[in-house]
């Protein structure tokens, strides 16, 4: 998850300043709802609308990274937070520690407006038939391809391994996603790789590496590589935002979720178990799903909402499922292996 949020989470400082501003106006007599969120997730006008409707005061704390989010939630000082926006991996960890409160769908009428894909049980936020979080925004990691080199959109992740495109493929330099990607391509469970499958997948990733032009870390880097080399296809870690960046740079590129599916981070709203005002917190979650907020989120931040399919994902581009990220079996092990793969170890070393 290192850089997966890189693009959208730039305005951390601005957000923190806004949070401080709101806090100073907090009033003791009315209930105070404490919200922990990412920049752009809880803009002041949405907060004001909520405050006006529910007669509550909202304190928004903005975080810029998963690490900070974890630290804020772990901080036992102060009243703590009532409601949090976090991705499915973080939420699964919170749920495993029993820190989330179950949600009653009757309290959340807006959920009915969500696309079916978000209403079904999502791994990591559902336990024992109870739902613990409601999806808010997401970004899938599809394939970006050069329309001039592809007569038809690539259908499968295997295009990344296709020797036809050797030296014209870009992949993201990230250990966790790389193994998940390889497992997905091989038809395996992406987040629960069996121990005896790690080495074969590592060798598979070496084969991917041999087919690459390069690995990239920053979205700008990928644009640069498109500019300097005739890149054919790229695994887009930054999803549609990366697509937009390339199109803005003048490239005629297409975007597809291949039939094996696309990994995707999914940020959800969840109510914390220690909150003393869970009903108000549920109101907040419901408020965030209202079209006046969710659709506006897409307009303002370019992030996908859960009410409408993004324009880039029409039926021709959405060939497979969107696979929400989950905690993986052993991140450290994946990282160790990936470093060696990147460094150029030959397959026989795995």
């Amino acid at each position: 998850m290192l850089a997966s949020h890189g693009l959208r989470r730039r305005a951390v400082l601005v957000g923190a300043a806004q949070a401080a501003l709101w806090r100073s106006s907090a009033h003791a007599a009315v209930p105070v709802l404490r919200v922990l969120a990412w920049p752009g997730y809880a803009d002041p006008d949405w907060v004001q609308a909520f405050e006006a409707r529910h007669g509550a005061q909202v304190e928004v704390t903005i975080v810029g990274s998963d690490e900070v989010l974890r630290a804020k939630l772990a901080d036992s000082r102060g009243p703590g937070y009532d409601v949090v926006a976090a991705n499915t991996v973080e939420l699964a960890a919170l749920l495993a520690r029993d820190e989330l409160a179950p949600l009653t769908l009757a309290d959340l009428p807006q959920v009915a407006r969500q696309l079916p894909r978000f209403r079904g049980p999502i791994e990591g936020i559902v336990r024992g038939g109870k739902t613990y979080a409601v999806p808010y925004t997401y970004s899938e990691m599809g394939l970006v391809y050069d329309r001039q080199q592809f007569s038809a959109p690539p259908q499968s992740l295997s295009v990344l391994w296709d020797p036809r495109w050797r030296g014209k493929v870009l992949a993201f330099d990230g250990a966790t996603h790389a193994f998940s990607l390889a497992a997905l391509e091989q038809g395996q469970l992406p987040f629960r790789i069996a121990q005896d499958q790690l080495a074969p997948l590592a060798r598979h990733l070496v084969r991917l590496r041999r087919n690459l032009l390069s690995l990239y870390s920053l979205p700008e880097e990928s644009v640069d590589l498109f500019r300097r080399h005739r890149v054919a296809v790229m695994h887009a870690n930054y999803g549609q935002q990366q697509l937009k960046l390339l199109r803005d740079a003048g490239f005629n590129v297409g975007y597809v979720v291949p039939r094996e599916g696309a990994l995707a981070w999914l940020d959800c709203w969840a109510v914390l178990r220690r909150s003393t005002q869970q009903a108000l917190a549920a109101q907040w979650v419901n408020h965030m799903l209202h079209p006046s907020v969710s659709l506006e989120l897409t307009r303002r931040q370019g992030l996908a909402n859960t009410l409408e399919e993004p324009a880039a994902l029409d039926s021709e581009s959405l060939l497979g499922p969107i696979v929400w990220l989950q905690p993986v079996e052993d991140d450290a092990q994946r990282t160790r292996l990936w470093q060696r793969i990147v460094a150029g170890d030959r397959p026989e070393r795995f």
């Binding site: 290192l2 990274s65 590496r209 390069s214 920053l218 300097r228 460094a343 150029g344 170890d345 030959r346």
Partner: protein, 567 residues
Amino acid sequence: MVRINIGQRLGLLLASFSLLAALLLGYMTYTAARDMLVERAQRTLLDTTRILSSHLQAGFGQLGRDATMLAMLAGGLPLPGGAVPTAAQAQSLETLAHMFRAQLLARPGLLQARLIGLRDHGLELVRLQRLADERIVRVAGAALQEKAHFPYVYETARLTSGGVYFTEFGINREDGVPQEERAVFSVAAPVVQGAAVVAVVVLRVDAEAFLRHFGATLPAPYGFYLANRWGDFLAHPEREKAFGFDRGQRVLVQEEFVATAALLSGAERELVFSHTESPGGAQIQAFLRLPYGARDDGRFLLLGLSQSMSAVLAEAQELGGTIVKMIAVLALVATLLAAWVSRVVTGPLRAMVQATDAFSLGMPHGALPVERLDELGELARGFRDMEAQIGQQMDELNRSRDAMTHLAHHDPLTGLPNRRMFEQRLEQALDRARRSSRPCALVFVDLDDFKSVNDKLGHAVGDAVLQAAAQAIVGAVRQVDTVARLAGDEFTVLCENVDTDDAAQHVLDKLRQAFAQPLQVDGRSMVVRASMGISLYPKDGDDARTLLASADVAMYQAKLRHREISQ
């Protein structure tokens, strides 16, 4: 309440003005000096940054030449073309390994020297590397890795002989050893055989050591910044801000120093500005684009230096102290000047005030500053003229008042006191007589047949007769006695201190003698007779009315006697 005179007020005003002017001048001098210092420091800082930039470019150039030289040497040797190298090819790899070792020994900043073939996914052919304990080892066999997906291979492969490729600065993770995870960049040169690039020589450079080498020549207070072309800090005085992207948290130069966005976009090539928002206090910053990599690929680094504003302004503070001292001296001078002015202005004014006071009391006063040519002189002259005019008018007024008084109390024809004045004198004389118990006499003189004089000789002669009679009466009595004309031809004489009847008789005798001779009227002699009656205080009465009546009666009897005599 303290009375502040005009001089003090003027002095105070002058002192305030001079002090204000001094303060203003001091402040302006200070700010101008400060601006000048800042500007100079900015220029110097930019110059220093330029020098540093050219040093860095020279350093990069040297590295490029090293890589090119090694690539040229490798190009002249038979290199492996298949899976199993020939003996000659193996020998050339040995030779290159020696050269690489020598190179690493000669250049302590180099971490690695490699020959990477373009075949077999960029498999390393020779790899010499410096370990953390400074040992230089050759990595061989199965540990050699495939590097085709690194830009130093795929970018360098596109170059022609003599070309050099510089990688981006980054944290080295290629070795999978935490100790080796440090900031590096690599320099690569193509190995050309025939017309084709067959391999690349790659030198990995310890970025920090490389930069330190140049940074060491900088004076201590400078802060050193380096950013890549996207703005990510590669070097920052706060170490944790460098290579933020490697930790998934980008720290960007254009966010800390907004102005540098123009450098990143290419709108500017160099920039110097004051940055006031830094936590360690204000500082001046110079940034410039440092061309990086091949001449034509448009890549650059952002090189920056900072200098603390307090160091820059130390001189200005000193100047500020001097200015404050100067202002203090000026204030003192202004105060003295003000006191002097106060004196100069108030001296003459005070003289005028005293003169006015004296004048209003009718007393003499000292000289006025009429000789001055300024407004005070004018005022003094005006005052003098006014004084003269008032004096003149007062004299006239007095004269006219005296004349009025005279007219009210005297008979205009003879100049003798009239009835009113006589009555006053009589009352006063009676007062005195009562106090001193000394008698006084009142004589009534009435001209006989005066009516016929008027009728026969005319009023003019009548008047002349009256005047002559008056003179005769005045000449017949003592100077202290009062002679008055009551009306027409009636005269009275008041004689004080007439103690005896004899003395009273003497008065009457004298008067009778005066009329015994003809009087000189308009140059001719004329006989004028007068009847007289006397009354004495307190014998004939003790108040004016009684005395007058008594004298009148006596006079009337005398007149009757005169008629009898004349008939």
